[in-house]
Symmetry: C2
Subunit: 120 residues, 2 copies
DNA sequence: AACAATACTGACGTTTTTGTCACTATAGGT
DNA sequence: ACCTATAGTGACAAAAACGTCAGTATTGTT
């Protein structure tokens, strides 16, 4: 079952999923929005200080284009824009959770390895 | 809790996880090895025909370096090398499964969108 | 002596992704 | 008239990722 999306061809849901979610800050942004929503850009920046603003905006634009995130613009000054996960975006919760859980396991594993190798 | 691994600093297990699993073919390779194991390079190639050999080897090397995959070399001619998920590698099963599940949802969503927009 | 099969490596170029910097728009407050 | 805050954009540079191609090693078979 071939999937055609944005001029590309994917051969499985998994491939498509990875293309939608595989940007440097996308999982992090989704993680933020799963914890608290809606969020303004400036709030996301505070939660992800290692990411620069330009990148966050790019990732948010792509998530919006893929309809994982909805963008609400309030016509006020100074500008106010809020971001929220869509229905399909919210369904990423098990993905994010399982990554976090595994990451903690792997982190412990890595630290154990480091401790062991320093003994040698 | 900062994690130091391979000259980089990670600020959460999630970040570390993404660095270990975030290559073009890594999830695909892990998916193959979850389905059937051990596998030879040539078998992985058959399962992932869109990936070129060089890339598969690179991804396998990185997975091996991170100890998610174990490599077994048999001293025969022609060469025989088998790849298998390690303990920590096998624990990625929930990650891969949730990505596949979400991907199928998202794929259906995308197709529905495409069908609707063609009506307009 | 050439060929086959498998699992590679090295060099290189291209493409994609990421990061940096300077710049814009807006309306109210001073 | 200028400053403020927020949420951007455009142009470009740098780095990382990816892909292609040709070549290596091994030993048994033809």
């Amino acid at each position: 079952m071939e999937i055609h999306y944005k001029d590309k061809t994917y051969f499985s849901g998994k491939d498509l999923a990875l293309s939608a979610v595989g940007g440097r800050w996308k999982i992090a942004v989704i993680w933020c929005l799963l914890q608290e929503s809606p969020l303004r850009l400036s709030e996301i920046q505070k939660k992800l200080p290692q990411a620069n603003q330009r990148m966050l905006i790019r990732q948010l634009r792509e998530l919006e284009e893929d309809k994982l995130v909805t963008r609400y613009v309030y016509p006020v000054v100074p500008p106010k824009v809020e971001y929220e996960l869509s229905e399909i975006g919210r369904q990423l919760e098990p993905v994010v959770t399982s990554i976090c859980n595994w990451g903690d396991e792997f982190s412990a594993f890595v630290e154990k390895e480091a401790a062991e190798s320093s003994l040698e």
